[in-house]
Symmetry: C2
Subunit: 597 residues, 2 copies
């Protein structure tokens, strides 16, 4: 189906919005009146620009407060409408959105509303313009889609139909099943928006918190099913306003928007992209660093051993149990210091995983970083982290490890067994899109998001995982849009004995993040521990949490560049990440970063 996006959903000038929509592959746009008013381009120039970009103008919007008003007011409205229809002629737009009135002048009189909308459609018809009447959830007298449809039906005019908006319908709690009673050809337009489920004033909810389908809590796919059953064949169009999108770069927002429509079409059987290939483990994490000594010192103390070196690139493989860390000192090393640049995801079918990712608009990375002998498929996540689809040491498929030359090393008993999770702090405006990306592109499941207050602001985090927990990525977002450059990242290593692992790390010269004594007094108040247990935790800086399934013990290393490590011991099916302890950990990291506080 054709896809469209309202210009109000994107940041920037009208030209920037159109360009972003076209680059993301949309077929058309809804032109939001304020974007046109603020544009220095004449309507004919906008028409030409849009056509050059391969976009149609599917809707001009909105006209407000037109119907069910005193005759004198309606005459003024018709005069205004003629101006707008003439504008639409110049613009080459053939459908206009009319929102149900919120005017204090409007009366509760469906017959009058139908009569005036019919007369509006008469005038519109002269210009070849179709009028799509929509119920705003906060409309004065008309606030539900079925009410709007009854008025359209009564008006019975070929140039008058209805516009459905998933937000207005679902925010009101209306049952979308009734959409099937509307003849498809009378549904002139369909606007799609999701939103987080919130108990708040619906106007504020709509204006500030809308999001793309799949990012919120509404059943947009279910609604779309009813609309398709009704026989609608127009475009699927996104109308999402949101304080964050207003500020974010239009280009990435448009890509996320179209991805959300692709996933929605897949969910409703309207499109069949390649099926998701859920990763089955973490093959490696790759650190880039301009300053290798602190990194390898840290890895060594953690129990990692350098086991291999890349045949042609300055990349070393460090290994411990099933945990593998690549240390890359090549030119790819980022300017902003040591960082977690890539994650290798073990994939049942790397090529198919890459096809899925590409079909959902994940940026496919050029092979320049790939290894000669074993081509590696890789895409970029929204935060820039590179995701490689790997088959590690499986006979039937080429393995990335084949490019590495073993180096002599002493085998050591590992104290950690594998990568438990990686935590990636997202740019502040990309939190929702990151979750949708990992769910749709990788086929991971998103857990609930969790708010954590640290001394200097509010953090939010949300984990995406596969079914058996062998892939866990914790997506976080910090308090302010100001410190994007310093986004923390960490690698958590699983161990069966966090006390032993922490001791070994410290004995090897590693520095553990010290935790405040008050934290342990509180643990003593909340739980009972064996004799000496708490003293051990306090000594090592081990934090403790439990949920209904089990227990969690974890501690943190010092930070190198943007990266630190965590040692985690999960017992009895604990599923979380110790969010309860995050304020204390964040405060401790702040204290290390700013001594004296």
């Amino acid at each position: 189906m054709r896809t469209s996006i309202a210009t109000v959903s994107l940041s920037g000038s009208l030209t920037e919005k159109l360009t972003a929509a076209a680059r993301a592959g949309f077929d058309g746009v809804e032109v939001f009146e304020n974007d046109l008013l603020a544009s220095p381009l004449a309507p004919e120039e906008i028409r030409a620009r849009t056509a050059d970009l391969g976009l149609s103008i599917d809707l001009y919007q909105p006209m407000r407060d037109v119907e069910a008003v005193p005759e004198e007011e309606f005459a003024r409205n018709l005069r205004r409408a003629r101006h707008k229809f003439e504008l639409m002629r110049r613009l080459g737009a053939d459908t206009v959105l009319v929102c149900s009135s919120v005017s204090p002048l409007a009366v509760d009189d469906d017959a009058l509303a139908a009569d005036q909308l019919r007369r509006l459609a008469d005038v519109a018809g002269e210009f070849g313009v179709r009028v799509a009447y929509e119920a705003l959830a906060w409309g004065r007298h008309v606030s539900t889609y079925d009410h709007a449809w009854r008025i359209v039906e009564a008006a019975d005019h070929p140039y008058l139909g209805t516009c459905l908006d998933s937000f207005h319908i679902l925010a009101r709690g209306s049952d979308p099943k009734g959409i099937e009673d509307i003849p498809g050809e009378k549904i002139f337009f369909l606007q799609l928006a999701d939103a987080p489920l919130m108990a708040m004033d619906v106007l504020q909810w709509s204006r500030h918190y809308r999001c793309f389908p799949g990012q919120g809590g509404f059943d947009i796919a279910g609604l779309l099913g009813h609309v398709m059953s009704a026989g609608y064949r127009g475009p699927l169009s996104l109308e999402v306003f949101n304080d964050v999108f207003r500020q974010a770069e239009a280009g990435p927002t448009a890509v996320d928007a179209r991805r959300s429509l692709l996933v929605l079409q897949e969910a409703t059987g309207l499109a069949t992209p390649p099926a998701p290939v859920v990763p089955s483990g973490v093959a490696f994490a790759e650190l880039v660093t301009p300053d290798v000594a602190p990194v390898t010192t840290l890895l060594g103390a953690l129990g990692f051993t350098r086991t291999a070196r890349h045949r042609s690139k300055p990349v070393d493989l460090w290994q411990q149990g099933e945990a593998r860390v690549l240390v890359n000192t090549g030119p790819a090393a980022r300017r902003d210091g040591t960082a977690l640049a890539a994650i290798g995801l073990e994939s049942p079918d790397p090529a198919a995983a890459a096809r899925r990712a590409e079909s959902l608009l994940a940026p496919v990375l050029p092979r320049r970083r790939a290894l000669e002998d074993a081509p590696l498929d890789a895409v970029a996540a929204p935060d820039g982290t590179e995701l490689f689809f790997c088959a590690t040491d499986r006979p039937e498929l080429p393995s990335w490890t084949g490019d590495f030359e073993p180096v002599e090393h002493q085998a050591d008993t590992p104290s950690t067994t594998r990568i438990d999770h990686v935590a990636l702090t997202q740019p502040w405006h990309q939190f929702d899109e990151a979750a949708l990306f990992h769910r749709s592109v990788l086929g991971l499941s998103a857990q609930d998001s969790v708010d954590v207050a640290d001394p200097y602001g509010l953090h939010r985090s949300r984990a995406v995982t596969n079914a058996d927990g062998s892939v866990r990525i914790a997506l976080g977002v910090g308090p302010a849009p100001t410190d994007d450059g310093a986004r923390a990242q960490h690698i958590a290593l699983a161990t069966d004995d966090v006390v032993a692992a922490a001791r070994r790390f410290r004995d090897a010269g590693g520095r553990l993040l010290p935790m405040p004594a008050n934290y342990y007094d509180d643990l003593a108040a909340r739980h009972e521990f064996a004799d000496g247990e708490l003293e051990t935790y306090r000594d090592l800086g081990i934090l403790y949490d439990r949920d209904q399934d089990g227990e969690f013990r974890h501690c943190y290393t010092e930070t190198v560049g943007r990266v630190f490590f965590e040692l985690v011991q999960r017992d009895g099916g604990y599923r979380g990440y110790g969010a309860q302890n995050a304020p204390v950990r964040l405060a401790a990291q702040h204290a290390v970063g700013r001594p004296g506080r």
Copy 2:
């Protein structure tokens, strides 16, 4: 009365919070448990630090989910409580906050709740600790203050009383009158927080949107009156959590917090600071500039004439009608280019105005910038703008103009008459506090705040004015916390004929901000104009608005440094600022700033 603030209301480490509270003049603090847990200081050290700062610890908070639970659970809770009472002993805190239970284990049984709270108070008494039981607005079975009080009354224990929290009481819509039925000595603590009136989930509302008294929509003064009538004599304590305060510097937040309490005490007759002295006009606006030519060229084109020069400082007075602009090229000129540094407010009693400001913690500026012959009282607004209290050319008082030496100039017919308003963009986290500052310190009235979407984000603005509109300050806040350094400021000049004023400006070589043609097509659709009127507006870039009282025509100059000018013509009692046109104006300014968009 003693004033106190919860550490959770301030950003930073516990040490930073305590320091900020003490510097702002608070008498005590509520120690929030998480702040203590995250602190590297032992309880005894916190006690000593607090005492050194002259602060008492008025409350330790919170204990949760204590009461109305099965006996086995209660035993665990008592064990936890003993730990906390022991901690409080080390801390030197004698009152603990117990919030009504939200636990799924809690049962709806007031007798059980009373019995368990009585037993908790027994244990607390052993440590000399008083238990203050508070109804959370979202408590599982106890969510109103009168319900919490009935349980406390039934428990009838000297170490058990109630804690009142204005947010929980007013957010539930409870009538605070009933507070007077509680014996004052059983109100162990009073927490004060305001909030904007919002229809949203009360837990989210409470956790993210609380603000200081006077910044929101609750009648905190009315509630306080009832609490005082009941005979409460404990501290007035602020417990405000808010996503913005979490990130803002603790020092200024603490000052704003205490100012809000001073204003609240004044409103309830508990304190009598010097009465407000409402300014009666704008004496001058002062621009500082390192690059004087563009500024004076702009002023000249606007019709200003250099009429005087300061006797001893590099400051010129430019005048036109009653509009006066000082141009300061002295060392005070800021490093970030041309900026609006100060506003002279015409005051009926400058010395009294300054006393009022100082009593409400406005930073009094050193006299170094003041003029020798006529000492000028000045304070700094939260955004750093200097506010001078002036008596201009009034015989009974010294005038700042006396320091200026007239220079020869040609008298010219002015095309503008006075400064209509000044618009100051605030740092993103200081919007609410700026409005409270201008209301309380200067005695101005705040109008409703208005949201405006520009192409790159959401702006919010709110005007503060005196009764006759001769002083109008428009406080704005931009979309992102990232561009604080480039905050726009502007001076709006009143004219009786904006067309003539704009023409004269342009004829004198001034550059007006061009507005898009589409804007004028829309005006034609919305309103009827005389022949040629719209063409004139389009030619000059004049924008148009109307409200129920009258009409508004306005246009903008180019920007110099951070400053631009607006020419405004108000007719028939129009009270606004053309907010409807702001998106178009902002887009036009963006387009000038980034050509090609």
